[in-house]
């Protein structure tokens, strides 16, 4: 569904992503994990049209995303739940959700949008209670739900999430991840970027480990979950620290 080949991203002259290839098949949950600064968010930004200076190939459903801006990519079917939620705090919850369907209003899909709004509110019942409240008054977990709901309002085929567990209580993280699994069952494909490797791999089909802009490990999520090397990459610990014990 999404195929990234030899992706290189630049910030000025610095190469943040160094020739990464990664693929997401239809119906999969893929986790991209790695320590801070590994380049996870950069990769997502490139795929979602928020970063223009990249080289390589990004194909979505067989079409290149080269030169596409954010709205064009949303129209193609990729929605991003950005890091730190980035909801619009003074606006009401409902308005935030409606904004997620921004690209669809032009197509006069009002009836469908209303149905989707219902669907999102069914998915996260707490948002119904908070419907008229300013989004800024929501708790962290609720804001995250809102951010996911907003992304769903664009009716994506691929949902990309950047660190949805950040700053959330473990119980809330579990809730969010359960929702992602539910969405997968309904046919949504998910690309999940996480520092919380443990949680992300638990729900994923496959995973990739990114280290300073390069993929150093990949495989079935269940294999990676039990992998000492993953813990090492995720914790960002030195090789030597893990070498002790048997030499």
């Amino acid at each position: 569904m999404l195929r990234i080949k030899n992706l290189r991203c630049y910030y000025g002259r610095i190469m943040a992503i160094k020739g990464v290839s990664l693929s997401v098949m239809e119906g999969e949950i893929i986790s991209l994990i790695g320590a801070n600064g590994a380049g996870k968010s950069t990769l997502l930004e490139a795929a979602c049209g928020l970063l223009s200076s990249w080289k390589g190939d990004i194909d979505f459903q067989g079409n290149s995303l080269k030169g596409c801006d954010g709205p064009a990519i949303v129209r193609k079917g990729i929605s991003l739940v950005p890091e730190g939620r980035l909801i619009f705090p003074p606006m009401s919850v409902t308005d935030n959700l409606k904004l997620g369907a921004y690209t669809r209003y032009r197509k006069r899909q009002h009836a469908e949008i209303a149905r989707d709004l219902e669907m999102v509110i069914d998915l996260f019942p707490i948002l119904r209670e908070r419907a008229d409240q300013p989004a800024g008054t929501l708790s962290g977990g609720e804001q995250q739900m809102l951010a996911i709901g907003r992304a769903l309002m664009a009716r994506p085929r691929l949902l990309a999430l950047d660190e949805p567990s950040m700053g959330l209580a473990p119980l809330m993280v579990e809730k969010i991840l359960d929702t992602l699994q539910l969405l997968k069952k309904e046919g949504l494909t998910i690309l999940l970027v996480e520092q919380n490797a443990q949680a992300a791999l638990k729900i994923a089909d496959r995973g990739y480990v990114l280290e300073t802009g390069k993929i150093v490990l990949q495989g079935k999520a269940s294999d990676l979950l039990s992998d000492v090397e993953v813990k090492r990459a995720y914790l960002g610990k030195d090789y030597e620290e893990f070498y002790e014990g048997r030499d």
């Binding site: 195929r3 080949k5 030899n6 290189r8 160094k18 020739g19 990464v20 290839s21 990664l22 693929s23 098949m25 280290e211 390069k214 993929i215 150093v216 490990l217 990949q218 495989g219 294999d223 039990s226 992998d227 000492v228 090397e229 090789y239 893990f242 070498y243 014990g245 048997r246 030499d247």
Partner: protein, 426 residues
């Protein structure tokens, strides 16, 4: 596996992703690979791990068996020792044995690879699979056991049994599939006839022949005499394991597990990649191996890639495994023996470097063995036959223990060594 739904583009993407990951990990974790990649970077002024097409692997230098010896024991491991869950020793090509390490994921990989090959040979949980391999191939014995268990096949693991006992087990335990080398298969067939065992009285259905290429005549003979179907598997005995290539029901070449290995055919003299379909030396790069990644490893095996797709529909490319090697390694019952190794061992045991000749022989009704001719020297000579016999027995024992193959030694006049072909002398 037969019904793989991946498109050709998805296959090439998968292989590219895995190759890039392998190169990145090798660079990060193994100084040997890091130095080599830095060397390429210095020459070409670009980062070699930024490979954009799997064919670009051709820019990398080869790995050879000698590197495994030079970095003995753990120098080429790409994981810390504590991630290793199995350490295996194989007789190496140098004085040092070859050490292979496996992480837990590696063991899973071999289970998958072997299970896939066994499935292609039609082995099912209704089968009883017996493994009979020389101790130089015990590594494979374990991999076959694991792979068969993965498929819930009843396994009789490799055990040091005499041929008679093997035969007894084969008959009484109702073995339906035998994993063994061609030499041993021939030997067992002979023994069965000597013992007056009627092959139809056994449950034997198929032989999985490993370790050496097999002549078509020999396969026909086995089929005719024992009423079995034969399947050939290709693997590397030192590293990393068996069933890298396997036959499907078409029996037209061996499918390579391309999702785990990248195969190239090179001209053994120039090192250049051969045009598609040409004969040359098989070079392998591991795509998923964790503990001991190999990058362009020269196998020394002569082979040819069959470019046409297989009628069975598997997306995996096929290889024709050919006789003779591109290096000077001898294969005795599937176990590889390097000439230098024989010479080293003899020199160490005798205290001087003898003039020798070696070759692989087979007498009817026996397995293949390594025959070593030693040119007589005064320092070695004794007028007591007993002393000489003792010396020879000692040498046989040393070689057998270290090389893992049956050995015979003959003491010869130096002049008679001159009659041997030049590639079997020192």
């Amino acid at each position: 596996m037969t019904r793989d739904t991946r498109t050709p583009e998805e296959w090439s993407q998968l292989r590219l992703e895995r190759l890039q990951t392998t190169l990145n990990r090798a660079y990060r974790n193994v100084p040997f690979h890091q130095n080599r990649q830095n060397e390429i970077a210095r020459k070409t002024r670009r980062d070699p791990s930024l490979i954009e097409d799997i064919r670009e692997i051709g820019a990398f230098p080869f790995m050879e068996r000698k590197h495994l010896g030079e970095h003995y024991p753990y120098g080429l491991f790409a994981v810390p020792l504590r991630d290793i869950v199995r350490i295996h020793t194989a007789p190496g090509a140098s004085l040092n044995p070859t050490v292979t390490g496996y992480t837990r994921q590696d063991l899973n990989l071999w289970r998958e690879v072997v299970a896939r090959a066994l499935t292609a040979a039609g082995v099912t949980p209704h089968d009883i699979l017996q493994i009979s391999l020389d101790f130089g191939l015990t590594n494979w014995g374990r991999d076959y056991k694991d792979g068969a268990e993965e498929l819930e096949i009843g396994v009789i693991p490799n055990a040091a049994l005499s041929p008679d006992k093997q035969l007894l087990v084969l008959r009484d335990y109702k073995t339906s599939t035998l994993v063994t080398t061609p030499s041993e298969a021939g030997h067992l067939a002979d023994l069965m006839f000597q013992a007056g065992m009627n092959p139809t009285a056994t449950n034997l259905k198929r032989f999985i022949l490993v370790g050496e290429p097999v002549e078509a005549d020999f396969r026909d003979l086995l089929t005719e005499r024992l009423h079995v179907e034969t399947w050939v598997h290709y693997g590397l005995s030192e590293v990393p394991g068996p069933a890298i290539g396997f036959e499907c029901a078409e029996h037209q070449g061996l499918h390579l597990n391309e999702d785990h290995f990248l195969a190239e055919i090179i001209d053994p003299d120039s090192g250049r990649v051969q045009p598609e379909g040409e004969i040359g030396e098989l070079v392998l790069t591991t795509l998923t191996t964790r503990a001991l990644p190999l990058i362009r490893f020269r196998t020394g095996d002569r082979a040819r890639i069959i470019p046409e797709p297989c009628p069975c529909g598997r997306p995996l490319v096929r290889m024709e495994w050919l006789f003779d090697r591109t290096d000077d390694i001898l294969t005795v019952n599937g176990v590889k023996v390097h000439r230098d190794q024989i010479q080293h061992r003899l020199a160490r045991a005798l205290g001087f470097n003898p003039e020798c000749g070696y070759f692989v022989t087979k007498h009817p009704g026996e397995k293949k063995y390594l025959e070593v001719w030693i040119g007589m020297e005064y320092s070695f000579f004794s007028d007591e036959i007993k002393d000489l016999e003792k010396q020879v027995d000692g040498l046989v024992e040393t070689l057998r223990e270290n090389l893992g193959v049956p050995v015979r030694i003959r003491l010869k006049e130096k002049a008679s060594l001159a009659d041997l072909p030049s590639d079997s002398k020192t």
